[in-house]
Symmetry: C2
Subunit: 259 residues, 2 copies
Amino acid sequence: MNVWSVANQKGGVGKTTTTVTLGGILAQRGLRTLLVDLDPHGSLTSYFGHDPDASTPSVYTLFDQAKTGAAPEPAAAITATGFENLSFLPASMALATLDRQLGARGGMGLVLSRTLQRLGDQFDFALIDCPPVLGVLMVNALAACQRLVVPVQTEFLALKGLERMIRTLNMIMRAKKIELPTTIVPTMFDSATWSCIETLQVLRRRYKPDVWRSEVPVDNQFREASRAGIPLSIANPGSAGVAAYLRLLDEILLPSIEP
Amino acid sequence: MNVWSVANQKGGVGKTTTTVTLGGILAQRGLRTLLVDLDPHGSLTSYFGHDPDASTPSVYTLFDQAKTGAAPEPAAAITATGFENLSFLPASMALATLDRQLGARGGMGLVLSRTLQRLGDQFDFALIDCPPVLGVLMVNALAACQRLVVPVQTEFLALKGLERMIRTLNMIMRAKKIELPTTIVPTMFDSATWSCIETLQVLRRRYKPDVWRSEVPVDNQFREASRAGIPLSIANPGSAGVAAYLRLLDEILLPSIEP
Ligand SMILES: Nc1ncnc2c1ncn2[C@@H]1O[C@H](COP(=O)(O)OP(=O)(O)OP(=O)(O)O)[C@@H](O)[C@H]1O
Ligand SMILES: Nc1ncnc2c1ncn2[C@@H]1O[C@H](COP(=O)(O)OP(=O)(O)OP(=O)(O)O)[C@@H](O)[C@H]1O
Ligand SMILES: [Mg+2]
Ligand SMILES: [Mg+2]
């Protein structure tokens, strides 16, 4: 199973939108796809009409089980999105308490990777929507994935934040002996705004090997799609936003589609 | 000293922009204003050209001091923005580790409120830029402020998230016996997008007494201002975005400007 994490500590850059849109494309191509909502705020969970406050099994349940030493039992938490080949593991607001609960206790960094290993024969692809915080949930995402996808809004504050985030992620990865290929995805690009063009140029220069050579344009249909609770790749596969994500997926996958 | 917290668990809704713009207006009116950056990602800190990774004293230092039982000593952490009457307490990336470090240990919810009490004679106003997570930093912000300002993007996902956040905040406030007047501020309103108009209508209907009766329009000058590191209220006080924040401030302050 291919596992990618979609992460950025800066808020509102398009993490959930990227996860849902790529997930929709993969599912339409017949790949059994699992989306994992690690954000206590639960945007992905509410995108598909579920309440992250509901007491149904969620990602939090996996950590609860792990605390007792038991192996994670994800079957009950897997939830249908209503779209073929697309399921998700919902978030719960209680995830916000994990860092406090676990404190300095070790050994909780592999809960998600153990969970996804148990699901290896049921899914071809998993995409992890990360919270905008670098804590135990982020460590779990880094340990569970084979690639890091980092959406970055093409604007100045987001660029400043990227430098720091990449530094911190590299620190965490070095400490945990993890090596991950990274794809930085410029999002919400508006070719009519000078600061977008300028930021994109700086992004390409500074992060040359890791920045995707194209960008996701501003496309208001993403908002309309989130209102309808349908991935835009399913609601309107011909939109400019989806076309960009199709190119992104092909460029990352092409050299290495798993047999 | 008036103290307001600017908070929303959803990312990218305009928390930092609201804090910086209101801060700029207050400073220009001659009020000695302190901005507090509680976000480990440090957007406000880097807005004013500082590095949240630098080892200078920061908000984190206050928690470090409190862990040893000492009273917080904020003087060394107060940093100039370069604009008259406007200073800030910088964030540090280490803030992201606080929840883990403190674990279930109690008594760390009042560090910020004790700090601001010590600064009562140096500042007239303090604005707290909150992180997109509900943890110990958020509890500190709630305990230290007299009003909660909640920017909400006028789009569907942000609306779904607001319901949950208000529920969780009310839970924290009830447990800590805190009562706070709340002002919900619709931001990035684009009158040409149908889903913005629709979301605004739902927002007003559902949260009637707490929603500000106007809204902050989409204004690309905010991005340009953040690139220049100048609050838009100082760079271009005549812009549509600043005009909205001027109205907001007057409507909140008018009934109760402190002598
Ligand atoms: N390319 C795009 N063009 C226009 N709007 C977009 C685009 N991508 C995302 N959006 C919109 O921007 C807002 C923020 O996106 P999203 O919620 O995916 O960001 P996020 O990084 O997941 O935020 P958070 O930090 O809260 O998790 C949403 O309203 C979404 O519909
Ligand atoms: N009214 C507005 N019109 C247009 N752009 C805006 C407006 N308000 C904020 N922005 C832009 O939107 C982006 C997100 O704003 P900001 O960083 O203030 O959000 P935030 O809620 O603080 O995000 P985070 O969750 O990362 O802390 C920034 O690029 C900012 O310049
Ligand atoms: Mg998200
Ligand atoms: Mg912010």
